[in-house]
């Protein structure tokens, strides 16, 4: 039945379907149905570790190699849809699950047959739904998914869900029912395809297995719920079963909706990844990005999930807080005992955050607009003691990557080793800093500030690191044993995480070509499931990847803040909220167009807010509209300069500011732009240096061919003649050339040209600056008097960055120079010499 439909439905999709059928079994291997099994076998404890083992083995191989049994099943499966579920059951739990799977199957059939074929067809749907929830639940925090199922079905099944979906779902159950299987299958298979190509996307089996294995307090609870659901389903009458079916149907449809976008993106990626690996990668990152967004959306829509998560987090954190408050106090004691004479001896404690763990709400509320990222990061880190893939956290600067990561660790209270590649500016420092932290070594005058190990080569590092990690993990494990008695003060779990911040800096290191692949490969090299690696970078992952054959880490994107997020961020910790919010009304919009970096904005805002609130005598006074308008009109002219300026010097507080204000007032009252202070040079330069600077400026700005006509009395007329002749076309060409000149920036010039222009200028500017005595001196000394020190002057101009000395040109063999002087400064210098610079400047 499904077969036919498949044929009909998927003609346009062509070859994709082949893949689908091929990987349907892979899908089957996915943990989805297994959960149903676990529910069914919730009483059977002995079976769980086996599941964990098999799936883990599958997963740890790194690829999804299909077990032979699955391949055998392949041709059968599409033919016998009724049996597929059984097969699924078998595939997943080949050893022990068969009988029970079969049993459950028959039971299920018995139940569903009452509702007719349609409903029977829905059954895979239900399973799929469960599976979906499995994924859902894996993507979120561990418990919430299953919890959710319980809730949905046991609590809300009657009221909430029916109201939500019954209208369409009941009607749709017949029409939708048939092709829903197909589409679900397609989707499922799509997901199956994705597995090998995009492993990081869905590390399903592992967390799942871990979940089963972990001894979380709520396990029994949800199991009970699951059982009750099952019995509900079993014992229900016809109405109930239809109702449940409808609910399930609705959920399936929702599921489709969720998956729709993702599905398309993935499909695109799949196609492309066949054709072109590179574009595929680019698209992959795009789809990854989309994935994050979709995921976020999904989670938002599923309010229950987060609600539950919160609940759980609270449940989880309450004993933790109790535990760590004690640890905090003890660590405080430790601090007090550290006198400068006796050196601080770090312990395991120092691998944790050493502060009271944040509650989940606090974590979320501390980072407005980062909810999705926090949840995603929590999901990627997985529950306690679960291995993880390397993660790459990336996003623009000042989007909260580092803070979120650190605070998440604080929330989880797990041990981690942080190293920033800014502070650790070379591989050696990086390695040694990591090792020092792992070996509980602190540099102090006692050990003459040396590292614990001298380590420069990556190979040494791996050896040392492994040793250190093993001992630390051993230590942690010992603590876990103890922690059952709740006496431990250590961070949770036996996982240790290595955090590499500012990874983009590594690219600039000398040995970046070897270090980067090494870092990305570190988890593979170490092969220690207890080590999690997190990279944090300002730049997108594509800037790191080369064809070095390492596994790409899972990426987590931190997008720029939206305007609302920024408002929330800036409103936090404001004493006068009303005033500040009215201030933000004025300021935030224009600034958001320029930058969304929190650090930049906060610098600009702190200054502007001072200006804004300045006219207010009583800061606490109620703000009325009129006042707001007045403040706005006062602030308005000052926004633009701050917007344009990246670097401001407040200088000696207030005194200068007032004078600047006065100057501004003067400026606005007079013609803008004419400013007396601008005429003055604000630093001292000797006269010959000034002339040299001007000649360098001319040499850079003017084309070399013009020199003769500018400095020669005969040249001028020639130029005019040529100008007259200029035709339309030549003018165009000229414009093009100008454009080019503009784009190229200041030109370079050889030393000879500079000296020639200098000579011309100094001879032209007959001593308007010299006074009595100097006159006869210059005559006496001749131009050589000025010349003798020119090279010295040139070198000091180079030192002051006014003239840039380029490398020697290989063709010409001589050094070329270039000025980096702005026209303003050049004009200023010229004015101080009373030199008519604009006369000599070539324009248009």
């Amino acid at each position: 039945m499904a077969d036919n439909e498949e044929g009909e439905e998927n003609v346009p999709r062509g070859n994709e379907w082949e893949v689908v059928s091929l990987t349907a079994s892979a899908y089957a291997a996915a943990p989805g149905p297994k959960e149903v099994e676990t529910k069914e076998n919730s009483t059977d404890d002995s079976y769980e570790p086996e599941v964990a083992e098999t799936s883990r083995a599958l997963f740890m191989s790194g690829h999804f190699v299909f077990p032979p049994s699955e391949h055998e099943n392949l041709p059968i499966e599409p033919l016998e849809p009724d049996d597929s579920i059984e097969h699924v059951g078998k595939d997943v739990v080949p050893e022990s699950g068969v009988d029970e799977g079969g049993r459950s199957r028959t039971k299920g059939e018995e139940d569903w047959t009452l509702k007719g074929l349609n409903v029977h067809d829905e059954f895979p749907g239900l399973q799929f739904f469960d599976k979906k929830h499995g994924t859902e639940f894996e993507e979120g925090t561990t418990l919430q998914g299953l919890d959710l199922i319980d809730k949905d079905q046991s609590l809300y099944s009657a009221a909430a869900f029916s109201s939500f979906h019954s209208e369409e779902a009941l009607g749709g159950s017949t029409t939708y029912g048939e092709d829903s299987i197909v589409s679900e299958l397609v989707e499922a298979s799509e997901q199956g395809i994705v597995f090998p190509a995009d492993i990081p996307q869905s590390p399903k089996t592992l967390p799942d297995a871990k979940y089963d294995g972990s001894n979380l307090p709520c396990e029994a609870w949800w199991k009970r719920r699951a059982v009750s659901l099952y019995t509900h389903a079993k014992d229900a009458n016809a109405f109930w079963s239809i109702f449940v079916a409808a609910a399930v149907m609705g959920l399936v449809i929702i599921g489709q909706h969720w998956q729709q976008e993702r599905w398309q993106a993935l499909q695109l990626k799949w196609q492309l990844s066949i054709n072109n690996e590179k574009t595929g990668r680019v698209l992959g990152s795009i789809s990854r990005l989309k994935d994050v967004i979709v995921g976020g959306h999904r989670r938002y829509s599923f309010w229950n999930a987060s609600l539950n998560a919160k609940l759980m987090a609270r449940e989880e954190s309450s004993p933790v807080t109790r535990r760590t408050t004690r640890s905090y106090s003890t660590s405080n004691n430790g601090v007090e005992s550290t006198k400068p004479t006796e050196f601080y001896k770090p312990t395991l404690l120092d691998l944790g955050f050493r502060q009271q763990p944040l509650s989940f709400e606090d974590l979320l509320s501390n980072f407005p607009g980062r909810r999705a990222q926090i949840l995603e990061l929590l999901r990627l880190l997985g529950p306690l003691n679960s291995p993880m893939f390397p993660i790459l956290v990336y996003g623009g600067p000042s989007t909260g990557k580092t803070s979120v990561t650190l605070q998440v660790f604080r929330h989880l209270n797990r041990p981690f080793v942080y190293s920033s590649c800014v502070t650790c500016y070379s591989p050696r420092i990086l390695f040694e800093s990591i090792l020092n932290q792992l070996l509980f070594h602190r540099k102090n005058s006692g050990n003459s500030y040396s590292s614990s190990k001298r380590c420069e080569k990556p190979s040494d590092f791996v050896n040392y690191l492994r040793e250190a990690l093993e001992s630390v993990i051993e230590n942690l494990k010992g603590n876990v044993g103890k922690s059952s008695s709740k006496s431990s003060e250590q961070p949770n779990g036996t996982m240790i995480y290595l955090v590499f911040d500012n990874l983009e800096r590594v690219r600039k290191w000398d040995k970046s070509s070897t270090i980067l692949p090494f870092l990305f490969n570190l988890s593979d090299i170490l092969k220690m499931p207890e080590v999690g690696i997190i990279f944090i970078s300002n730049t997108s992952p594509d800037t790191f990847y080369s064809n070095m054959g390492y596994m790409e880490p899972i990426t987590l994107y931190f997008p720029d803040y939206t305007e609302d997020d920024l408002r929330q961020i800036f409103m936090a910790n404001q004493s006068n909220r009303k005033l500040y919010s009215s201030f933000l009304d004025v300021v935030l919009r224009p600034f958001c167009r320029v930058t969304r970096r929190v650090d930049e904005l906060s610098a600009a805002f702190s200054l502007l807010f001072k200006m804004y609130s300045e006219p207010l005598s009583d800061k606490e006074a109620a703000l009325n509209e009129e006042m707001k308008r007045r403040l706005f009109s006062q602030l308005q002219p000052r926004i633009a300069p701050v917007l344009n300026e990246t670097f401001q010097v407040p200088s000696q507080p207030l005194l200068k500011a007032k004078s600047i204000q006065e100057a501004m007032k003067k400026c606005s009252s007079k013609m803008p732009g004419i400013h007396e202070d601008h005429d003055k040079m604000d630093f001292h330069m000797s006269t010959s240096a000034k002339y040299l600077l001007i000649s360098a400026f001319l040499a850079s700005k003017n084309p070399a061919t013009l020199d003769a006509s500018l400095f020669d009395s005969f040249g001028g007329s020639d130029g005019r003649k040529r100008k007259r002749k200029a035709s339309e076309k030549s003018r165009e060409q000229k414009e093009m050339a100008e454009q080019e000149l503009l784009m190229k920036g200041p030109g370079t010039f050889p030393l000879e040209r500079l000296l020639a222009i200098f000579q011309c200028i100094t001879s032209l500017a007959e001593d308007p600056f010299d006074e009595e005595g100097s006159h006869d001196l210059t005559i006496e000394g001749g131009s050589s008097g000025l010349m003798s020190d020119v090279l010295l002057q040139l070198s000091s101009l180079c030192n002051a960055n006014f003239i840039i000395k380029g490398g020697s040109c290989p063709l010409e063999g001589s050094t070329r120079y270039r000025t980096a002087v702005s026209e303003e400064l050049a004009l200023k210098v010229a004015r101080s010499l009373k030199f008519p610079l604009s006369k000599y400047l070539y324009r248009r």
Binding site: T338, P340, Y344, D350, P397, S398, T402, S403, V417, Y418, V422, T423, C424, Y425, S426, E432, S433, N436, R442, K443, N444, S445, Y449, S451, V499, D599, S602, A603, T646, F647, V649, P650, S651, Q652, P653, D682, F683, H684, M685, T687, S688, A689, G773, S774, L777, T778, G781, G782, S784, M787, S788, D789, S796, L797, N799, A800, N801, F802, S822, L825
Partner: protein, 742 residues
């Protein structure tokens, strides 16, 4: 004659030639090393040798005379040491005083910003040494940065300033590290500057410099004091390294309260140019400004030349030269001080009686001329003193030590008066752009004094203003400024004058002026009290304005009178040669040198240097005994910018070889014949030939003179000295003349 075997003896002879002749080019081309050697006395020794030659008075070698001369010289050098150390310490004090206000301002700011950082919370030791940042809020990553604008493009002057700043802050309990731009080179990278930072803080060298080391070091220092990092010269730092450094510091700023102080030579724009915006982001800048160099120059001139300091002064021409050198050439105080030192050493070298200055320094105010103390024989000294031209031109005095002492004290009195007036003028024109050095140059001009004196002699009732003051000059500018002052400002100015002129003859005039002002003041205030409220206020203003006008006119008159009567430049006094250095040319030679011109002159007039007997004929004709390069250069003078190589070579050949002789003959056989023909006067000799060889050896590195090779070597030498440029591809047969100056 010219065989390769001659090489060995030639080398020392070249050296001798170089050192003995002390060619100016060598002196100048090693300017950098000279600067260093000038600091110690060896510089003075060097100059002495040079002057020895240029003064070139081949004395009769009397042993006794020599010995005495030597002893005398030793005494003078000692005196120089004393005088110069006094001047130097004065300069140092002046510079320090100028900076004190800025320094204390910086220090306050450092402590303020340290408290700001501390208010964010002090981390405990494990927290401070942990690897991850303590995140508080966006502003907690800000680095407090003091930008010290040095207001001078040249940075040499301020090296000392920043050193002093470091010392000052250290004395206030900060941890200070002075980094220079050499620590921020791309070659050493960020590791280099961290290493030197740690070296200065920890006093130990570490191969792996790391911020965590600094953090734990700071933790051991109990977090009590700010950490200040002074970076000399931002302009020369590599932007990449500096921005890395800033980023790194900003990550640690809560854990280590680092405060940066950076010297900016030019403008704020350089910061924007050098540093990327993400580094600028982390700076929280404050601005400080050091005094502009012209102000410092004024202070130095005031302390050294216008306040009684050492007794040593410079003449007008020297002052003008030094001023011009400062304004238009170099622009650094360092070079000004260097010039002053050179002048001082030259003075002590040349002036036998300069020993007297030593007493002047040692017993500052009340020095009396004590001939016996100076270790000179009194007769000799008197002879010297009364032989001085300044003494001879004036009326004849009795040649006794008493009259000499009297003359000295008179000179001192006049000098003090002159100084007082100059200072008064400077005080008047201080706010505006009247520079003390300009005033000094003008005031010490003997010509204008003589002119004034002549006019005054002609017409003693001449009004002080008028032709005496030349418009547009510093003095008239200062006088004009006095005219515009209000009464209150005038009162202030006069009280300053009073303090400046105490102890001089001008004082009574100033005092009179002051009394007048007081009287006027009392009158006007009385008037103000008696004024009925009905009277128009504008009228009062007008009135008082008139009063102040009247007063300032009086002040101007006094000033002009002072200028006319009391400003006798030192160069117009007898015996001024003992105290005043006047030889500009020597100073210029020592300071600038002008090597290229010198080379050309020497090549054209080599006879003066070599003083060989063969070429001393004084004729302009080219002789074959002349040096090859010299011949080549002389011939090149006949060409234009482009020199045809073939022609050049031909003319060289025609000069060197006898026109009649065939080219194929060897040089060896040719020479005697040629000489015979050329030296028609017949006084040729073997010695002449020898002399020729020696000369070749002295000047050229290649003793051999073959007809093919010699011109080539000459051309090469000319090219090395930068006088011609080699043929280009476009014109293979032409060499180009590159001649500046001559």
């Amino acid at each position: 004659m010219a065989s390769p075997g001659n090489d060995a003896p030639t080398t020392p002879s070249i050296d001798d030639a170089v050192t003995d002749n002390n060619l100016q080019p060598f002196f100048v081309l090693q300017k950098g090393s000279l600067r260093k050697s000038e600091r110690n006395l060896s510089g003075a020794v060097k100059t002495r040798r040079k002057i020895d030659l240029s003064s070139a008075s081949p004395k009769a070698s009397e042993d006794v005379e020599d010995e005495r001369e030597e002893e005398n010289m030793k005494l003078r050098m000692e005196a120089f040491e004393i005088v110069w150390s006094k001047v130097e310490s004065t300069i140092k004090d002046v510079l320090r005083d100028i900076n004190t206000s800025v320094f204390s301002e910086i220090q306050n700011w450092v402590h303020e910003s340290f408290n700001t950082i501390k208010s964010l919370g002090t981390p405990d030791f494990p927290e401070a040494t942990q690897s991850f940042p303590i995140a508080r809020d966006a502003s907690s990553k800000k680095l407090f940065t003091g930008l010290v604008f040095t207001k001078n493009m040249e940075f040499v002057d301020d090296l000392l300033t920043f050193e002093e700043l470091g010392k000052h802050l250290k004395s206030q309990g900060c941890h200070v590290a002075n980094l220079s731009s050499l620590d921020f080179t791309t070659k050493n990278g960020i590791g280099g500057c961290l290493r030197s930072l740690l070296r200065q803080f920890l006093m130990s060298t570490l191969d792996a410099a790391d911020m965590s080391i600094l953090a734990s070091w700071y933790g051991e220092q109990n977090y009590a004091n700010p950490v200040v990092v002074v970076i000399d010269d931002i302009e020369r730092c590599s932007g990449f390294v500096l921005s890395d450094f800033i980023l790194m510091l900003s990550e640690w700023v809560v854990k280590i309260p680092v405060i940066l102080i950076m010297g900016v030579a030019t403008t704020l724009d350089t910061m924007r140019k050098i540093l990327p915006s993400n580094a600028l982001q982390h700076l929280c800048p404050y601005e400080f400004t050091l005094g502009i160099p012209a102000e410092r120059m004024d202070a130095i001139v005031k302390a050294v030349l216008l306040k009684p300091c050492s007794g040593f002064t410079i003449g007008q021409k020297v002052a003008v030269f030094m001023r011009n050198y400062f304004v238009s050439q170099d622009g650094t105080l360092t070079s000004f001080i260097r010039a002053l030192k050179i002048a001082c050493s030259l003075h002590f070298y040349m002036e036998p009686l300069s020993v007297i200055l030593r007493e002047c320094v040692l017993e500052e105010d009340n020095w009396e001329l004590g001939i016996e103390k100076n270790g000179l024989s009194p007769e000799l000294m008197l002879k010297y003193a009364f032989d001085l031209p300044s003494c001879q031109s004036g009326e004849m005095m009795e040649q006794t030590s008493e009259s000499l002492a009297q003359a000295f004290s008179e000179l001192k009195r006049l000098q003090n008066e002159w100084r007082a007036v100059v200072l008064c003028l400077h005080e008047a024109g201080k706010g505006e752009k009247v520079r003390l050095l300009d005033l000094y140059c003008e005031a010490s001009d003997p010509e204008s004094y003589n002119k004034r004196k002549a006019e005054l002699d002609k017409d003693p009732d001449l009004p002080p203003s008028g032709p005496i003051l030349i418009k547009g000059h510093a003095i008239s500018e200062a006088v004009r400024l006095v005219r515009d002052l209000s009464t209150a400002q005038l009162g202030k100015l006069i009280s300053i004058w009073e303090s400046l002129t105490t102890g001089t003859e001008v004082y009574h005039r100033v005092f009179a002026l002051k009394l007048l002002l007081k009287m006027e003041d009392g009158k006007s205030s009385k008037k103000d009290f008696t004024v009925t409220p009905k009277r128009h206020t504008s009228r009062i203003k007008l009135n008082t304005g008139k009063d102040s006008k009247l007063m300032s006119d009086k002040a101007v008159t006094v000033l002009e009178c002072m200028y006319r009567d009391c400003m006798q430049p030192i160069e117009c006094m007898p015996f001024h040669e003992i105290f005043c250095f006047r030889d500009v040319d020597k100073l210029r030679l020592a300071l600038i040198g002008d090597p290229r011109r010198r080379i050309q002159v020497d090549l054209l007039e080599f006879q003066k240097l070599l003083r060989c007997s063969c070429c001393l004929t004084g004729s302009k004709a080219l002789l074959p005994t002349m040096h090859d390069t010299s011949i080549m250069y002389n011939l090149a003078q006949e060409h234009g910018d482009l020199i045809n190589l073939h022609d050049w070579y031909q003319s060289f050949k025609s000069v060197v070889l006898c026109p009649n002789s065939s080219k194929k003959k060897s040089r060896q056989s040719l020479l005697p014949k040629k000489r015979k023909e050329i030296n028609e006067s017949g006084n040729q000799s073997e010695a002449d030939l020898q002399h020729y060889e020696m000369k070749q050896a002295q000047l050229s590195l290649v003793p051999q003179r073959s007809s093919q090779f010699a011109p080539l070597m000459g051309v090469m030498e000319l090219q090395i000295t930068g006088l011609i440029r080699m043929p280009t591809k476009r014109r293979p047969d032409f060499a180009q003349r590159v001649a500046f100056g001559l």
